[in-house]
């Protein structure tokens, strides 16, 4: 008895159609199917490019020079977006920045990122870090692991992503190589959008309605 009739039939038909007798044991992608990487410009230029692309897409980018800047920005964000409840990734970088504590002093209730999904959906703000960023397209790369639950960047009404300049990558090709180990990696390029109704660009369909991206200079971290 054949355990996988459909599998064997389909692979058999593929081989017959390609004129092969046996299983192919090796295939090498031709060099012509590859393109060279984009070269990065100077560091500041790259940061400007990333923030510029995100702004063009309807996101809210900021470049913060110091911890004082960060606190002022948080205060501003909480007032502007009317943040009452927030949730956050539990990474050491975000903890060191003291984001949760400062949000607490602003009267924001912090919800554990491992809370019930209904509670997360009820959050106004989700704060995440960023694992890599692509200036050319304005893309943020977010990995997934127990410290970095996927729902934090998905369910809350507002998504705030905080990153450091060294995380900028010149090219998609170099970023892709870092994706091997995770069950889920998400590229986020601007806020959730649609043009499905008469091609009118509408921001905030199913994902967060607003995306804030802050680049924080690392020297000021402590």
């Amino acid at each position: 008895m054949n355990k996988h009739p459909a599998r064997d039939e389909i692979l058999g038909q593929v081989r017959a159609a390609l004129g092969r007798r046996a299983e192919t044991s090796v295939a090498n992608v031709p060099a012509s199917a590859r393109v060279g990487p984009r070269q990065a410009g100077d560091a500041n230029g790259e940061i400007e490019m990333l923030l510029g692309e995100i702004a063009k897409l309807g996101g809210n980018p900021r470049h913060l020079e110091s911890k004082a800047d960060l606190e002022a920005a948080l205060e501003n964000l909480v007032h502007e977006e009317g943040v009452k409840k927030a949730t956050m990734w539990q990474t050491s970088e975000l903890k060191e920045l003291g984001v949760a504590e400062y949000l607490g002093t602003l009267g924001v209730e912090m919800i554990s990122p491992h809370a019930d999904r209904d509670q997360l959906a009820d959050c106004d703000l989700g704060v995440t870090g960023v694992d890599a960023a692509l200036p050319e397209t304005g893309t943020l790369v977010l990995r997934s692991n127990p410290e970095k639950p996927r729902l934090v960047s998905l369910l809350p009404r507002v998504h705030l992503a905080i990153l450091y300049p060294p995380l900028l990558d010149a090219d998609l090709g170099t970023v892709l190589d870092k994706l091997r180990d995770d069950s889920c990696v998400t590229f986020i390029t601007g806020p959730s959008r649609t043009s499905d109704i008469e091609l009118t660009v509408t921001i905030g369909v199913h994902g967060p309605k607003a995306l804030h991206v802050w680049i924080v200079e690392k020297t000021d971290r402590s």
Binding site: R20, E23, R34, R150, C184, D196
Partner: protein, 510 residues
């Protein structure tokens, strides 16, 4: 949702296209072409052409080693903790998905946009079995409410106005909304948010399947794809076997081509790389991941070396946007899930030339589609190959056109390759058209030629240009006179011969 058709009558479908459709279709296609041109300019023509060539090469390499990459993909998805299923046809794929749903007592399914589930008619199978199945892409949600199929790969509800959508929401959901895009989107968001949180199973298609890592790549904009693959405890992805790519590095080319060609975006809002189910409960995501690999005619497409390249398609929709035929008739005229030039070459191969014999002819062969295609599919060559298949048959399928058409085409081909016969045929047609001619036009012709004159008059054959050319010199005039005399003599003797034979036959009969 469109049913799998038994016959696609493109001409009849075209006649039922509503008058506002071409205008709204063109508004969308023009927008996409403009934004696409802008992002291609940023990259630069030279780099863009190099990307297209690399895209073509990586896709063709994959398709030419499809057995290897499929086996590798299965191995890696399984290693990551996912389950791989194989489906020979639509029915088998539907049965597999339904069985997974029933095993897990699934009551509510949320779906992200997927052409392939449209191709197999999955929603009907699930709904018939009592499983609530909801499209969550805004455009798909709207066309599902309307009870029709998508009319454009990227913008399924391109044929509907905001007023029409507001009416639809009032009628089907009992919700009052001003006909404004933002308001309507907000209403859909609120409705669907509850559904996402309550769903037992998420169904998606796949933009790419990475053999090297067993990764499913989903390119989306609204966030519904992320919802479908993160919230429900069960994720089922259905994908054609042509969706596989060798490795992550291949995506360096393909992810640069796809969003730019499709919507003129440098990158879509969300691109998700999913490798198996979640590894820990804390990181969120589904407990189980299933991948259904669908053949449904794709191995047949593989048999012919020219039409094989149809499988390179990455479903960007750029060929629709640029196609003069699509721009006039919209997606529904093609009668099934895929439309435009890619539909014209894919559908006859997926559902058989017998069902879709019209479609390879639904093109002016202008070639704009092949020029814009990000993976350089030779669409014109494939159209011609399929036209030949319809009329003459080939190793893949026998001819399906009526014998009279085949005979007619063969005769025309013969006449056109022999100069004197071509001349003679021209002269004869000019005589034959006389009873139907009204000035410069032939307003109506007897069957089967009335297929043309039902729609528009045929211009009458007029002066013989070659004869006029010959008459420009005295020697030519003499020669032309001789030709005319020879022709009249030949016709007269042919008529006399036919008459004589008829008289003889009558004599014998009596």
């Amino acid at each position: 949702m469109s049913a799998i058709p038994t016959h696609i009558d493109f001409r009849r479908n075209v006649q039922s296209v509503e008058p506002q459709v071409p205008a709204s279709v063109r508004k969308a296609t023009t927008r996409f072409l403009d934004t696409r041109a802008a992002v291609v300019d940023v990259i630069g023509q030279e780099s863009w052409q190099a990307l297209r060539q690399a895209g073509h090469d990586v896709r063709l390499h994959t398709i030419n080693h499809l057995d290897y990459y499929l086996a590798r993909l299965e191995e890696e998805v399984t290693r990551a903790g996912g389950h791989v299923h194989w489906a020979r046809d639509a029915q088998e794929a539907n049965r597999i998905v339904l069985e997974i749903a029933q095993e897990h007592r699934v009551k509510r399914v949320v779906k992200a946009k997927s052409m392939v589930t449209e191709e197999i008619g999955l929603n009907r199978t699930l709904v018939d079995a009592g499983v609530q199945t909801l499209e969550t892409d805004l455009g798909e949600y709207i066309v599902q409410l309307a009870g029709t199929g998508p009319s454009h790969i990227m913008v399924p509800a391109i044929h509907l106005t905001k007023e029409g959508i507001a009416d639809l929401f009032r009628e089907k959901l009992g919700l009052d909304a001003l006909p404004e895009a933002a308001r309507l989107a907000a209403l859909a968001r609120a409705q669907l948010r509850q559904e996402f949180l309550a769903a037992d199973m998420g169904i998606t298609g796949a933009n790419f399947l990475v053999a090297e890592t067993g990764t499913l790549v989903l390119v989306t904009n609204e966030g519904n794809g992320r919802m479908c693959t993160t919230l429900p405890p069960l994720h089922v992805a259905v994908a054609g076997i042509d969706k596989v790519v060798p490795d992550l590095e291949s995506l360096n080319v393909l992810l640069k081509l796809l969003p730019r060609s499709a919507t003129g975006q440098k990158m879509s809002a969300y691109t998700a790389f999913i490798t198996g189910p979640r590894r820990t409960e804390e990181e969120n995501g589904p407990k189980e991941f299933h991948l259904v690999l669908l053949d449904n005619g794709r191995t047949i497409i593989l048999q012919d070396e020219i039409t094989r390249e149809t499988l390179l398609c990455i479903r960007c929709g750029a060929c629709l946007n640029v196609c003069p035929v699509y721009n006039h008739v919209g997606g529904h005229a093609y009668g099934f899930a895929y439309s435009g030039p890619i539909g014209a070459i894919l559908l006859p191969q997926l559902v058989g030339t017998k069902v879709a014999a019209d479609l390879p002819f639904a093109s002016s062969l202008c070639g704009a589609c092949a020029d814009i295609c990000p993976v350089k599919i030779p669409i014109v060559e494939i159209l011609l190959r399929l036209r030949r298949r319809v009329v003459e048959g080939d190793t893949v399928e026998p001819a399906v056109s009526p014998a009279t058409l085949r005979l007619g085409v063969q005769m025309v081909a013969r006449a056109m390759s022999i100069p004197w016969l071509y001349d003679l045929a021209g002269q004869l047609l000019r005589i034959a058209q006389a009873p139907f001619r009204r000035g410069a036009w032939l307003p109506s012709l007897p069957p089967p030629l009335n297929r043309w004159t039902m729609a528009r008059p045929l211009p009458a054959l007029r002066a013989d240009w070659r004869a006029a050319w010959r008459r420009r010199t005295p020697e030519g005039r003499t020669r032309q006179r001789r030709i005319r005399i020879a022709l009249v003599a030949a016709l007269a003797s042919a008529a006399a011969y036919v008459g004589w034979r008829l008289i003889q036959r009558q004599d014998r009969g009596e």
